[in-house]
Symmetry: C2
Subunit: 200 residues, 2 copies
DNA sequence: AGACTTATCTATCACTCGATACAAAAGTTG
DNA sequence: CAACTTTTGTATCGAGTGATAGATAAGTCT
């Protein structure tokens, strides 16, 4: 049936470059010229592979989530709810100041507010942030079942608190805060987290 | 010497409209067309009054700070460090979900990351956020002097923590979270705050 | 080889961006 | 009123926006 000319660039490699551009400049601030230059391809190749600028962002977000899933798996594997919280905020402090990436969090600075043709980008990013919060919440529900989290504790509230602090750390990191500053925020935040099961 | 034709629009009123546009769409996402339409003036009037799009943003930020100063004054007037923290996060929860304004915080969603000619906008916003944190820090230093905050407490760390949570609440609110959700985050966050002076 | 399918490149599309030139209008001052 | 100063509206500037048309190149399949 004839397979056609094969793609001459590595889509994943190109996505990594696009991700960095979106990360550093946000959706509106990332122009096609910047993206194609960073990806090393021409506009028609970009559109053939990803459909549109928005499609490219979604693909980059998928890849971002994929990168993070490994870390998140480690976080959720913590033996207790509190250890999960410790791991979560610690990994946020490290990843948001990783010199290999732009400072901050793609899901935060990618676009909280956008221009006239991009109204759904903020929704897209919010949905991805909500997913991380949901994973934490489920883990804490499990922890309460297991008994390492007090029955009075509110898994949803704790997950939302941690997710909110993580977003705040993203904002902080985006403005150039160093790793130690984020660690300190993590440390203070953790004193809001239940230390042990008060029941049974 | 002839005073010239007087301005035919209310600059403060126009700034309020511009502020809302920047708030809802971010700096990059706010186009001159949107701004002039919202402000009810034509581009030459805008440029005569504010110099540039960036100048307009800074004027809007000044006005935003002016609005907030009243709230912040009330917050800092809290009798104890802890009460200051309570007032701070409570006022954030209310203001970030005030139906009279776009959800969230102008200083957060105004532009964490911008395009190629706007690199200094994120700096500008970060500086304004840092100012609020500095005010909290100074208040906590004062509280430690006054003895209502333990000598072991770290005013800088506490201020940064609260500021970070506030930013996170801004992110949360921007994605449509309701007031009760923000209040809950505030409540959990406050359990990280020292309850009383452990010394003396 | 030859037919077929898809990717890539050059050039460019229509449109919007932020910002201005120019002339008419509206006020103040002598 | 007449001279002067500043604002306002119309029209538009050059540059950059996201996206595409059409021709060519590079592979696979029979």
């Amino acid at each position: 049936m004839a397979m056609g000319r094969p793609r001459s660039f590595d889509a994943d490699k190109a996505l990594d470059e696009a991700m960095e551009v979106f990360w550093r400049h946000g959706y509106d601030g990332a122009s096609l010229a910047m993206l194609t230059k960073a990806m090393g391809i021409k506009p028609p190749s970009l559109y053939a592979a990803f459909g549109s600028k928005e499609g490219l962002l979604k693909a980059a977000l998928d890849r971002y989530a994929q990168r993070r899933s490994a870390h998140m798996h480690y976080v959720l594997a913590g033996p207790t709810a509190r250890e999960v919280a410790v791991r979560f905020l610690s990994s946020i402090a490290e990843s948001h100041t990783d010199p290999a990436n732009p400072p901050g969090c793609l899901l935060v600075q990618g676009g909280l507010a956008c221009g006239e043709g991009s109204e759904n980008i903020p929704f897209e990013l919010a949905a991805r942030r909500a997913q991380g919060e949901a994973e934490l919440r489920e883990r804490f529900v499990q922890a309460r079942h297991d008994g390492d989290l007090s029955p009075e504790a509110d898994p949803a509230a704790l997950a939302r608190f941690l997710s909110t602090v993580a977003s705040g750390m993203g904002v902080l990191a985006s403005s150039g805060a160093d790793r130690e500053a984020l660690r300190e925020v993590a440390r203070v935040s953790l004193s809001a987290f239940p230390k042990r099961d008060a029941s049974s």
